[in-house]
């Protein structure tokens, strides 16, 4: 032991000496490329709809292309499902619910879900690579966050299937029937897991529509579900555009609508579902506050703010897009943030060194660039990272605005991109008021060394999730969802089951 220790110190010293020669610590580090291999991934040229346990062509015969946003290369063709296809899927889900799934014992139901979780774990690497190719998110994120969380979500809810009576004391629960689910493009596989796993555990059957720019991992999930032997029709996946989603929402035989996406579309769905008796949960947009107090561990906080807004290119509904810094440390924090921005790697999402990948689509890129212009025109000070970005594909430099007014659109509206607006505050009362001054209420972050202050703020911030000295943390056991215009209902944890059950009092 002692011997080892000695040699270790020697090695460390030489390494440091060597590195002083190799690296210029005053400049930006450069890494050798380290791309994740894609040879083990075999994408099909064309993906069909998954309805009633079969992969079937869309009734219109139409397909649309899905591209890699980092290279603009076409990845595959995907079926464009229409009203007729949705009707077929809902009918299959209804039959599966009536004849198979509701008849099955809860224990057996759970075992199917466990099996799906295991198969996903076995194919985790393939899922991660395809997620990165299709969505533009970094491989580090797909590999370490999205895919494991998705697997774990299935694993978590699998265990609930035969334990529902413990979640709702003194109440009889019952499945709703057919759940229509529409998911966004920012966490394609993870959102599919958040939707499908609790729905199945609660005893429902499912018709799911992935986002049009990111349908591939949902189709790989369909293949996994098929491989698991899940009875035909229990899960149906219909790819397409907004009209495909509308067909699901408006289908008269759907008992439950679950939607994750923008507040604007959420409001349209709330109106569409009115008076139908369909149960509805909405997980919508946000403009979440990340608050740094002067006693916070500043370096850790800066790292957390960077993670809060630049994680997944800022395509996160709970992104910490409004930073509030206590005045006494504002200059230091902003300087550190700018320095950190310059060291972020923007580029090939498949490269394991990359911090920020590609913007998901051309349309989203335009939206973000529009907001950057708005910020400038409103008089805020812009700082963009000096990093280089690839010429091809959709890339935006991490950006922050200082001197942002509370009324500014970049402080009020969801941008859904790598753009941070920074404001300052003096007192706790002031920051609580500013943080709550938004129609949204999804999440918030608090950075302080003081535990009692954390609990004070977590009770006063009107948001569904509050992170203290961390940000963008997710866990299958942890309920997630918003207040106010960020939607209603929770996903994850015991509370997430309520969205897929009806109760007899």
């Amino acid at each position: 032991m002692a011997k080892n220790k000695k040699s270790e110190t020697v090695d460390k010293k030489t390494v440091i000496e060597q590195s002083n020669e190799l690296f210029d610590f005053n400049g930006v580090w450069d890494y050798a490329p380290s791309p994740e291999g894609t040879s083990h991934v075999k994408l099909k040229e064309r993906y069909d709809l998954y309805i009633d346990g079969k992969f079937v062509a869309p009734s219109s015969g139409k397909y649309f292309k899905t591209v890699n946003p980092a290279t603009d290369e076409e990845l595959a063709e995907v079926a464009y499902g229409n009203e007729q296809d949705v009707d077929k899927a809902v009918k299959a889900a209804r039959v599966a619910y009536e004849t198979v799934w509701s008849k099955l014992s809860a224990k057996e139901r759970g075992k199917y879900i466990f099996r799906i979780a295991r198969l996903m774990q076995e194919k985790a690497r393939e899922l991660a690579v395809v997620e990165t190719l299709d969505a533009g998110k970094t491989i580090r994120e797909s590999r370490d966050v999205d895919v494991p969380l998705a697997c774990n979500h299935f694993f978590y809810y699998a265990g609930w299937a035969d334990k529902l009576e413990y979640a709702f004391p003194n109440r009889k629960t019952q499945a709703l029937g057919v759940a229509g689910q529409i998911i966004p493009w920012n966490f394609p596989l993870l959102m599919a897991a958040w939707k499908i796993a609790p729905a199945l555990a609660a005893g429902n059957t499912v018709v799911l529509k992935p986002a049009e720019t990111t349908p591939l991992t949902a189709m790989l999930l369909a293949e996994i579900i098929h491989e698991s032997g899940l009875p035909a029709g229990v899960v149906n996946i219909v790819t397409g555009y907004g009209d495909t989603g509308a067909a699901i929402v408006n289908h008269p035989d759907v008992n439950k609508v679950a939607f994750t996406g923008s507040t604007n579309v959420g409001k349209i769905i709330q109106k569409a579902v009115a008076g139908t008796g369909k149960k509805l949960t909405l997980e919508l947009g946000g403009k979440s506050a990340n608050i740094i107090f002067e006693d916070a561990p500043i370096d850790q906080a800066v790292e957390g703010v960077v993670n809060g807004i630049f994680f997944n290119q800022g395509h996160v509904c709970c992104a910490g897009s409004r930073l509030f810094v206590q005045e006494s440390v504002a200059d230091m924090v902003i300087q550190k943030l700018k320095d950190r921005l310059d060291t972020l790697y923007v580029g090939n999402p498949l490269d394991k060194n990359t911090d920020i990948g590609a913007i998901n689509s051309k349309a989203q890129m335009e939206t973000i660039l529009k907001y950057i212009e708005i910020g400038k025109n409103e008089g805020a000070d812009i700082y963009e990272s000096k990093c280089s970005i690839p010429k091809k594909g959709n890339f935006i430099r991490p950006t922050l605005f200082t001197d942002v007014a509370q009324s500014s659109r970049i402080a009020q509206e969801e941008i859904f991109g790598p753009v941070l607006s920074v404001q300052t505050f003096r007192t706790i009362d002031e920051v609580i008021q500013k943080a709550n001054n938004t129609p949204f209420g999804l999440a918030a972050g608090v950075w302080t060394d003081k535990g009692s202050r954390i609990f004070n703020l977590t009770t006063k911030l009107r948001a569904g999730v509050v992170w203290a000295n961390t940000y963008n943390k997710f866990d299958p056991t942890s309920p997630f969802g918003g207040y106010k215009e960020s939607g209603f209902g929770r996903e994850g944890g015991m509370h997430g089951l309520g969205a897929y059950l009806k109760f007899e009092r």
Binding site: N170, Q270, G275, L284, G464, W467, T470, S478, K484, R505
Partner: protein, 293 residues
């Protein structure tokens, strides 16, 4: 000479005060025999707005009261109600109930107040959770009130429906704006007098009388109402509420059946007007230390 009876002027209840409707309008609901009950305030949209302002103002301090204190105040409501029992029975009879039925309804209403008083400091324990996340965090989900709740009380009864909708909402720390039963409004205003003498802070409960048809749009269109409880019987109105709720993603919850049964009470009625908040609190993680001390 016979003494001339003093008739009660029924007014509305906003911010702990009893103003007349700002509109100066009235309506005269009739009982089954065709006798006019009283001249009731025909509340306007402006009254509704004033009530929402009062409710929002009261929300902060009410929701921050200790759960124990809220329980004390709700129990006080039961005490005050008990003391005025005969007055409520009288009004119910005037509105058309038989004396035994009226007595039963008042008894049930009082007991329901006691029931929810007891829940004030318990439902949190039933519905909260500590979540075993796979990281070094103490993660818990607790309930918080939604904010200002609009309540359209059951139209088929006067007192028990009112109590059954208001009590779970305020037990959970919300404030509310209530529209009483249009044709059976007497008890609602007398109940407001009970509330006004129960240490309940002004503005936590605001009660309007008037037309559901006229005010239904105000309930879904007001941007500072967080949720609406519809306990009326009109499907068209329920649909209107749900359709209009998109302006600020209001939560619309509907109860049917008037809540008149002895079983129409549960902590799930409180839960319906709660948000789930999840907090991730860091746990210091010192290398080397294990739990096998």
């Amino acid at each position: 000479m016979e003494r001339l009876e003093i008739l009660k002027t029924y007014k509305i209840f906003i911010g702990g005060q009893f103003p007349r409707t700002e509109s100066g309008r009235y309506y005269s609901p009739m009982n089954k025999k065709g006798e006019a009950l009283a001249n009731m305030c025909l509340s306007s949209k402006k009254d509704h707005r004033n009530a929402v302002v009062a409710a929002r103002k009261a929300f902060g301090s009410w929701s921050e009261r200790t759960a124990f204190n809220r329980g004390q105040i709700l129990y006080r409501i039961a005490e005050m109600l008990e003391g005025r029992k005969s007055q409520f029975v009288e009004e119910l009879v005037k509105q058309g109930a038989t004396a035994p039925k009226a007595t039963a309804e008042v008894d049930l209403a009082i007991d329901r107040c006691v029931y929810y008083a007891g829940w004030c400091d318990k439902y949190q324990q039933v519905f909260s959770s500590v979540n075993p996340v796979a990281s070094s965090h103490f993660n818990f989900s607790a309930l918080e009130p939604m904010g200002v709740v609009g309540i359209i009380a059951p139209q088929t009864n006067s007192l028990i429906g009112l109590v059954s909708t208001i009590l779970p909402v305020i037990a959970g720390g919300n404030s509310c704006v209530v529209l009483a039963a249009e044709q059976l409004p007497l008890c609602a205003i007398t109940f407001a007098e009970v509330l006004a003498t129960s240490d309940l802070p002004g503005g936590v409960v605001n009660i309007l009388t008037g037309s559901e048809k006229e005010l239904i749009d105000a309930f879904h269109a007001h941007m500072d109402i967080n949720a609406v409880l519809y306990a009326g019987e009109n499907d068209e109105h329920a649909r209107k509420l749900e359709e209009g709720a998109d302006c600020n993603v209001k939560r619309i919850i509907r109860y049917v059946g008037g809540l008149t049964k002895t079983t129409d009470e549960s902590p799930y009625y409180i839960n319906d007007f709660q948000e789930v908040k999840t907090t991730w609190h860091p746990i210091e993680h010192v290398g080397g230390a294990t739990s096998s001390y």
